[in-house]
């Protein structure tokens, strides 16, 4: 029985290892633009381009988990520390599947000065997740004498009262959510003057002026001009230059740039258990190896 279990385990382990190796060479091939056809049939069959979420990957880990448990109860594993290692590893895999299935992960994009309702982004949109978040300022600290960033910090105001700081490697907790400083972007703003009226705009933006429609579409980097659609007619305008469009004097000037903080939010149910199980695994691995040395 022990030999059969061991051989089965090694076969499954071999298949899993080979597929994992191959999968690292096919990152999302089927989802690349223009690559919906022409993907190697074997790659598609084995789901190598999306292996980690495939039933093959989950199935193989499931078989390993079952074998880990069965090996303990059939006496294939002899010592207490080895039995604990096998059971703990099986529990780790089960908790990982649970955590990955149950927990959600999503992104918040906040421009400086912008306020959002957190509940609008949560999966259940529950009133219990009621929280307003305002990005007061986004800061990039650089190493002295270098352009290399040292820290990205979002200065957030929660519920219009509490000011908190969110930085890389320094997450925030709220109920069963954790907020992580993931990345940042920049949003450029412009001053649009139409006759005597002034508007603050970003790209793209839309204005209604009396009965006319003005859409600030984008900035053409080749011609170095703004692309503007006025009453369904496209125009190109040089920054800072006043042009006459259908009797209106229009000027567009760059105003400045605002940072956009990209915050990743993750639910954290079950993660604490995973940490404890991992530490127990390491402890009993150490004990098993030390006992083996003493023999």
């Amino acid at each position: 029985m022990k030999n059969t279990l061991s051989k089965l385990f090694l076969i499954v382990l071999t298949v899993l290892t080979i597929l994992l190796i191959l999968s690292t060479f096919f990152p999302g091939a089927a989802t690349m633009p223009g690559r919906t056809e022409g993907v190697n049939p074997l790659v598609k069959f084995l789901h190598l381009d999306n292996f980690y979420n495939s039933f093959i990957n989950i199935g193989l880990w499931g078989i390993i988990t079952v074998l880990l448990i069965v090996s303990v109860f059939t006496g294939a594993v002899k010592t207490t520390s080895q039995k604990i290692i096998h059971i703990v590893l099986a529990l780790i895999f089960i908790v990982i599947v649970y955590e990955k299935t149950v927990n959600n992960r999503f992104y918040l994009k906040l421009a400086e000065g912008e306020t959002i309702q957190f509940a609008d982004y949560t999966p259940g949109k529950s009133h219990q997740d009621s929280l307003t978040i305002n990005l007061k300022k986004f800061e990039i600290n650089r190493h002295p004498g270098s352009r290399m960033p040292r820290a990205f910090i979002s200065h957030l105001v929660m519920n219009e009262s509490d000011t908190v700081h969110l930085a890389v490697n320094d997450p925030l907790s709220f109920r069963h959510y954790r907020f992580y400083q993931n990345a940042y972007d920049r949003k450029f703003t412009f001053n649009v003057r139409v006759d005597q009226q002034e508007f603050s705009a970003s790209l793209p933006d839309t204005f209604n002026i009396n009965s006319s429609s003005l859409i600030l579409k984008n900035f053409d980097h080749q011609t170095r001009k703004f692309v503007l659609i006025f009453n369904n007619t496209k125009h190109r305008i040089t920054p800072g230059k006043t042009v006459d469009i259908e009797g209106h004097q229009i000027t567009i000037n760059p105003k400045g740039a605002k940072f956009i903080s990209i915050i990743e939010v993750a639910e954290v149910k079950g993660v604490g258990i995973l940490l404890i199980l991992s530490l127990v695994y390491l402890l009993f691995l150490y004990i098993a190896f030390r006992k083996g040395d003493r023999k």
Partner: protein, 256 residues
């Protein structure tokens, strides 16, 4: 030429002289003294590097390639009695070769850079050294495995058993620290990115190394040849994890 480069060159010269003395003289004493001198100079180079970069030398490929031979050399100096005399010269040679590889890296890869925000964490000082302790042990196990494969028919059984016991111990140390590295890496990823496992190529290959090494503990009727083959395959996998992933596959660990 920087002070760090000068010190590394001096350390390399000392290691080469040490290797020469190992074979030339009857006792290991002088060879070891020169090697220790080289190790001290090597340590000074690492300190200089740390002062200039304002962080310990394990944030990129070049820094880990000058740190690794230092750790290998330290094993030879501080744990000499655990390493049989027949293979000690291999450790000296390995130290020289690894420093040579580091010297061959392009100049722009050797430039000292401050840490980017993602690396600015206490976990870097736990996760990276854990892996390096593991890699050093597996490196030494590889030396044993190659030596045993080449000489197993000539060796006395008692000597062979002694070497296999040493090899087993190195693999246990290596396996333990690979697991510590994986788990601390997952904790760090959770703290930084909110996701302890995202099937990043580096993460996946770190797991693959552990899966391959798991064979070692589950071999039926294990013998020297089977064990040696598993160790060598693990070693090739580790080489790919260390170098291949950074250059051939793109992921969050691309800076390493």
């Amino acid at each position: 030429m920087s002070a760090e480069s000068i010190l590394l060159i001096l350390a390399s010269i000392a290691y080469v002289i040490s290797l020469f003395l190992f074979f030339k003289e009857d006792t290991e004493k002088n060879s070891r003294m020169v090697f220790i001198l080289g190790l001290i100079i090597h340590f000074a180079a690492l300190v200089v590097r740390s002062v200039i970069a304002k962080h310990p030398p394990f944030s990129n490929l070049y820094e880990t390639m000058i740190l690794f031979p230092f750790l290998v050399g330290s094993r030879y100096v501080f744990w000499k009695k655990q390493i049989p005399e027949d293979v000690r010269w291999l450790l000296i040679l390995l130290t020289i070769i690894l420093l040579g590889f580091a010297a061959l890296l392009p100049g722009d890869m050797k430039k000292a850079e401050p840490l980017m925000p993602a690396l600015n964490s206490i976990w870097m000082y736990i996760h990276v050294p854990a892996y390096f302790f593991g890699y050093v042990s597996i490196f030494i196990a590889v030396l044993y495995s190659i030596y045993l494969l080449l000489t197993r028919k000539k060796l006395l059984d008692s000597k062979k058993d002694h070497l296999v016991e040493k090899m087993d111990r190195e693999i246990k140390i290596g396996f333990f620290f690979l697991n510590v590295g994986l788990i601390t890496g997952a904790i760090w990823a959770y703290v930084s990115w909110g996701n302890y496992w995202s099937w990043d190529p580096k993460e996946t290959w770190a797991l693959i190394n552990i899966l391959i090494l798991t064979y070692y503990f589950h071999l039926s009727r294990p013998n020297v040849v089977k064990k040696a083959i598993v160790i060598i395959i693990t070693f090739i996998s580790i080489l790919f994890t260390y170098w291949g992933v950074s250059y051939l596959l793109i992921g969050m660990h691309s800076y390493t």
